[in-house]
Symmetry: C2
Subunit: 409 residues, 2 copies
Amino acid sequence: MAVTHEITPISIKWQEKFSTFNSNRMNYVREILKLASDPEMILLSGGFPDPKTFPTEAVHRLIDEAIERYGSNIFQYGDSRGFLPLRLLSLKYLSDRGINTEVENVQIFTGSQQFLQLVGESLINPGDRIIVTKPTYLGVLSAWDKFRPQYREVDLESDGPNIKQLEHEIVDGVITGEAPKFIYLVPNFNNPSGETISLEKRQQIAALAQKYGVPIFEDDPYRELRYSGEHLPTIFSIAPDHTIYSSSSSKTLFPARLGIGVAPFELLQRVTYFKQGADLNTANFTQAIFAEYMKDGSMERHIPEIVGIYTPRLQVMLNALHEFFPREFTFTRPEGGMFVWVRGPKVFDSEKLLPIALAQKVAYVPGISFYANSDTAERNTLRLNFSNQPEERIIEGIKRLGVIFSSNQ
Amino acid sequence: MAVTHEITPISIKWQEKFSTFNSNRMNYVREILKLASDPEMILLSGGFPDPKTFPTEAVHRLIDEAIERYGSNIFQYGDSRGFLPLRLLSLKYLSDRGINTEVENVQIFTGSQQFLQLVGESLINPGDRIIVTKPTYLGVLSAWDKFRPQYREVDLESDGPNIKQLEHEIVDGVITGEAPKFIYLVPNFNNPSGETISLEKRQQIAALAQKYGVPIFEDDPYRELRYSGEHLPTIFSIAPDHTIYSSSSSKTLFPARLGIGVAPFELLQRVTYFKQGADLNTANFTQAIFAEYMKDGSMERHIPEIVGIYTPRLQVMLNALHEFFPREFTFTRPEGGMFVWVRGPKVFDSEKLLPIALAQKVAYVPGISFYANSDTAERNTLRLNFSNQPEERIIEGIKRLGVIFSSNQ
C-alpha cells in the first residue's frame, strides 16, 4: 500500500482532460446577458419577455389549485415523459393548432431547448446533414454542435425559406446517399429575424418532406405572440407523419422551463431514454402550475394582455428604425414575436460596432451569432429585441444606434 | 418546381434515422415506476422520498418570501450558472460540509443528474476510463453510456471501495497511457447498496487522487439522511483541488430538480456552455424557493423531521429482513440514505423472480441494474428502498419477498 501523507500532489490540468465535443461557438446572447444588471443599459439584445406579462398575481392561486387537485404528488419525482395531467391538457392546446394527436405522442421537457437537444442526441451522427435557414435560431446550434452535424443552409426570405434551395439540398443529399436527417424551421416570427412562413410555403415544405421522406422539426414557441395578420396552419397539421413539433410555456406563462414536444412514439421512446440521463424528469411542481394555467382558462384570458403590451412596442421600434437608421439599412417587419432583423450595407460590421454601442448603453446581438456556418455568416446584420423594454427606451436605443451606425460605416 | 399535391408520401422509418449513441441499458427503476399508480403495490423499488417529508405548508410562505425579496425576476429567464442568491447561500451550506470555496466554483443545475451528465459531456471521450464501484449509481450509467467510456469497476466493501483495486486501476491506467478521467463515488449511504466510505478510506482515496493527479467525482445527495453514527468529512474537504462535488435539493426540500455542483472554474465554464445547449438555465422560480428555504432556517429545522420519519423505517426493514429472509441471504446495514442491498446465494436470480414478486404486489429493483459492465453483474443481488412506504407495508413487503425467495431457489 503506497499511500502515505507525504505525497506531493499532482495538480490536475483540466483542459487536458476535456472531451473533444465542440464548445467554441461564441454565444453573444448569453455574454450580453451579463450586462443586464446595469439598469441604464437599454437591452435590445436578449429574447426576454417583459416581467409585466408574467401572471404573478395568478401564480399563488394556480399553486393553491394545483396542490388541492393533485396533492403532494406535485412535489415528488415524476414520470420522465411528463406530468400526465399536463400532457392530457396539452392535447387540447395542440388541437387548437391543428395538431390532433394522442397522449403517447406528447411529452413535457425542461424547456423546449431540452427537446431540441434530446431530438438531436437521438438522431444526429457526426457528418449528418441538417437543413437550417440562414439565419437560424442560436439555441439549436448550441444544442447540436456537439454532435458534429453538417449544417446545410437555405436562404430565408420574407415569406420563409427559399423553396428551390430547399429542394436542391434535399435532392443533393438523397443522390449522394446523405439524405438530410431533418429540416429545422421556426414557422412563426423567426428568431432571430422575424419572418413567418407563408401558407403556400408551408404547403410546399410539407410536400417536399412527404415526397422525399425527410422529417421537419417545427419549432414554434412564438405562435401566440401575433400582433397582426391571421394565424396560419402549422406544418404539422399539413404533414403530421413527417413533423416533430415543439412549443413552450415561456411566452405565455413565464420561462418556467417547460417545453411541449410532439413526435412519433418510437422517437419519443428514445428521447425519453436520453431525458433520464439528462435530468430524470422535469419538476412536477412547475408542470402542475402550467396545467392549472391551461385548465382554468387563465392562459386564454392572459394572452391578449401580453399581445396588448408587445404590439405597440413592435410598432414603435419599426417607426424608430425608419426615422433614425441610415437609408441604406433595411429591416424586417414581423407580424409577431420578439425580434426585428436589421441589415446594413455590405461594409457594415455589427460585431465591430458593438463595443461602441455598449459604451453608449445600448445592447444588441451581432447577426453572426445566428449563422450555422461561420464562413457564410453575414457581418452586416444584427438582431433587435422589442419585448423587454418600454417604448420610450426602445426609441432612445434605436436613436443612439442610428447615430453610431450613421457615423461608422 | 416539382412539388405537387399528388405525391405519394414516403413514410419515415425513424429507427433507421437514429444516432448511434447507446440507449440499450434496461432501466428497471423507471420501468417499475410505471407500476406506482397501483395503490396496492408495495413499492420497495424507487428512490422516492415520502411525501410526508415535503414541507408543503412552508412552500406557500417560501414563495411569498421569494416574490417579495426578488420580485418578478424569479419568473424570468436566468443566468445559466444559476440564481445568484442561491449560489451565494450555497456557500454556507457547503461550508458546513467542509467545502470552503468561492461563488465562481458553485453552480446550480436542473437536478444533480444534470450536473453528472454535463461533467460527462465535458470530459468523456469514447474509450476513456472511468472508475466506478461495483455496484454503482444507475443514473451515472444513463448519463454517461452515450459518451462510450470504458467503466473500470472496483469492489465496494462495507467501508467503501477496495483501495488496493482502486490503486491498481489507477496505476494500470497511468502505465498504459490511459489514466482514468475520474473516479466516481457516492461517499454516504451508496445508491444502491447503502455503504458509507470510512474516514480512513476517504483519506486514502484523497491521497491516491493527489498522488496520481486523478479527479474524484463525489456525488453526495444523501448526506443529510443520517440515522446513526457521525457525519464524516467530505472527500472534497481532504482533497479540494482534486474533487468535483455534487449535492441536491431532492432529499431535504423536495425533488424540485435542483442540484448544487462544485468544480474548478475552468471546468464549470465548459459545463456552462453545454448547459446552455441542454436547457438554457434552471428555472429561477424553483431556485428562489430553495434559496428562501436555506435562508430562513426552514431547511435546518426540517431535516430532523425527515430523519425522524426514516430512522424507524430502516430499522423495521432490517428487522424484517432478519426475520423473514432465508438464512443464506445477507444484507447491508446502512447508517442512512434510502436503500438496503440484499445478496442471495449464488444461484439466486433476482431478475427472474421479479414477475412473481410483482404479481404478489411487491416491487424491488434487480441488482443487475446497478453494474456498469453487464458481464460482471451479480444476478443474485437486489435493491430495497425503505423511504417511500410506511412501516407496516415495509414489513408486509419483506415478508412476501421472504416467502417467494425461500420457495424459489
